[in-house]
């Protein structure tokens, strides 16, 4: 049957989808690279600059500070989310009641399916310095009000970014735990393995793939996230939570300097490309 409709049929089926993906996700990168070599203000293509835009982006201390903050948010939020995800997944996996286990999964995924604007906005309200619920709860314990979004802006940002992704790592790790036979564990128990040995020697190695996938997906998602910082703190106070994706957004849509914005976009794309290559390596697919 496959031979009957010829070797080109497969290509024919995938072409429409591939055209859309390439047109929106690949082609614009070439155009952006072209723009990054020029002076482009307000979308007016100016003189050819060579690599000057790159030089400008890479020599600005503010950009390096922003990259540093981005790495701090990315690494800490991803670590919190993956560690808590593993802990919760081991807990859910130990549940005998399947309905209960399912309920935990669903509850923890809710922040992940909520839009970042809504999630960040609702936390902004809870963490509000004057009327926020968090400060009311502190006052019950006799604590003075805390300006979470000013004094602890970075910590609040990391908290909200981690909050929305814990369910994702939980579900990934749990699927890994469910995917292997319990016989291994029983065999190990018969041989006298302690629970800690079972965790470190059997469970964690089997969970390598789901943990790696969660880490890479969440790192990319957090690295590129500009909606949560934009909504929660607008990069402030001062520049304390200005991550690189906010810098990029402002270069383009506040200052309209699309030449330098394109150069920065290409640099960020290169960082993303490395993460994508790792993703393709760790994700399991057959073709």
């Amino acid at each position: 049957m496959r031979a009957a409709i010829g070797k080109r049929a497969g290509l024919m089926f995938v072409t429409p989808a591939m055209l859309l993906i390439i047109a929106v996700m690949i082609l614009p990168l070439f155009y952006t690279f072209y723009l990054s070599l020029h002076n482009v203000d307000f979308m007016q293509l100016g003189s050819f600059l060579g690599l000057k835009n790159y030089k400008q982006v890479l020599t600005s201390p503010g950009n390096w500070m922003a990259i540093g903050r981005t790495l701090l948010v990315t690494v800490s939020a991803t670590a919190i989310s993956v560690v808590l995800g593993i802990v919760l997944a081991l807990w859910v996996d130990a549940q005998k009641n399947a309905k209960y286990a399912y309920a935990i999964q669903i509850v923890s995924l809710i922040p992940w399916v909520t839009s970042m604007v809504v999630g960040a906005l609702l936390w902004k309200w809870i963490l509000d310095g004057e009327l926020g619920l968090a400060n009311y709860l502190l006052s019950l314990f006799g604590q003075k009000p805390v300006l979470f979004l000013q004094t602890y802006a970075m910590q609040s940002l990391i908290f909200v970014v981690a909050w929305r992704t814990i369910g994702y790592s939980l579900v990934m790790v749990l699927a890994g735990l469910k995917g292997f036979s319990k016989d291994y564990i029983e065999a190990a128990q018969v041989d006298g393995a302690t629970p800690l040995q079972i965790l470190l020697r059997i469970k964690l190695p089997i969970l390598k793939t789901p943990i790696a996938v969660s880490m890479i997906v969440l790192s990319m998602s957090n690295f590129n996230n500009n909606i949560v910082p934009m909504t929660l703190t607008s990069g402030g106070p001062g520049e304390t939570t200005t991550v690189i994706s906010l810098t990029l957004y402002r270069m383009g849509f506040t200052h309209y300097t699309f030449g330098t914005a394109s150069a920065l976009a290409m640099i960020l794309f290169a960082i993303n490309a490395i993460m994508i290559l790792i993703y393709i390596r760790v994700i399991k697919y057959e073709i």
Binding site: A17, T114, S115, W125, I126, N224, N225, G252, E286
Partner: protein, 280 residues
């Protein structure tokens, strides 16, 4: 006796954990809903009132008078159009990738896989998409966000549906052809019926992606008539400032469709998310 005590302790720890998880995940929503039902005066009261306040729909009235429903309908349109496009294109592509061998298949499929995390962080594509779309005059049209949302979510949809097709033996198609069924019938009716759960799962992912997207919409659209629901929430933040009643009302209404879809199709979300992380 000792054993019993330990079980009790474990049960208590478990309940505490569940309550904590439940609280941290629902607190923002619960508090948001309560705030949205209060009058401005009662929102400004400290200590805050939890249940003993006068329920009012003023905040909802206020956002609806400010054009909220229009943006809601726009977003429904964007999401449904993206779902329709992605189910058709994605299903055809999944079929091509799953059932055929052809030159360049490996590379093309690697592009699909690469597209999944790439579109999750659509900020990388923000400048590239904007500069290209504005130079060809594609910004600010009814189809602008349809094209972008369809493209962003197509890799995931294709991948999920390919997973569904893997479970359906080729023999079913062959038997259908022998019985005189056409390829059009197979692709348009037989396989979609057999793959219904994966189609639903793909649709759910596209919906969540399109409904929740903000930043691309914010740079691509500035016509009032075309704004999306997330844009209107974000704009209320600037427009109403600290009017938390209006803001939480807008947030509450925007979350409802996601929660309804999610509660009905939660299992499919879980199976779609974990595809590729556990096999092999």
């Amino acid at each position: 006796m000792k054993y019993n005590k330990r079980m009790k302790a474990t049960a208590i720890i478990e309940i505490v954990m569940f309550v904590m998880l439940f609280t941290v995940n629902f607190l923002p929503f619960g508090w948001g809903i309560i705030t949205s039902l209060k009058s401005t005066n009662e929102i400004l009261v400290f200590p805050p009132k939890f249940l003993n306040f006068n329920v009012t729909l003023d905040n909802y009235r206020q956002i609806i008078n400010n054009g909220y429903l229009r943006t809601f309908i726009n977003s429904v349109f964007y999401a449904l159009s993206a779902i329709a496009i992605d189910l058709v294109l994605g299903f055809l592509a999944a079929y091509g990738f799953q059932r055929f061998r052809f030159k360049g298949k490996k590379l093309l499929f690697a592009l699909v896989i690469a597209g999944i995390p790439l579109s999750a962080g659509s900020t990388v594509l923000l400048i590239p998409n904007y500069v290209l779309f504005s130079s060809i005059g594609f910004t600010n049209h009814w189809y602008t966000l349809v094209i972008l949302y369809a493209a962003y979510n197509l890799p995931m949809a294709t991948w999920i549906m390919k997973g569904g097709l893997e479970l359906i033996p080729v023999e079913i198609e062959e038997a259908c052809i022998i019985d005189g069924g056409s390829r059009l019938y197979i692709l348009g009716n037989l396989l979609p019926t057999l793959c219904r759960p994966t189609l639903a799962s793909a649709a759910l992912f596209v919906f969540i992606g399109a409904w929740n997207e903000y930043i691309t919409a914010a740079v691509m659209i500035n016509k009032t008539a075309l704004r999306s629901v997330q844009m209107s929430i974000y704009d209320f933040l600037g427009f109403f400032g600290k009017d938390w009643g209006a803001l939480t009302a807008a947030a509450t209404l925007a979350v409802i469709p996601t929660l309804v879809m999610f509660t009905c199709l939660g299992k499919m979300l879980v199976s779609g998310l974990t595809q590729g992380s556990v096999k092999g």
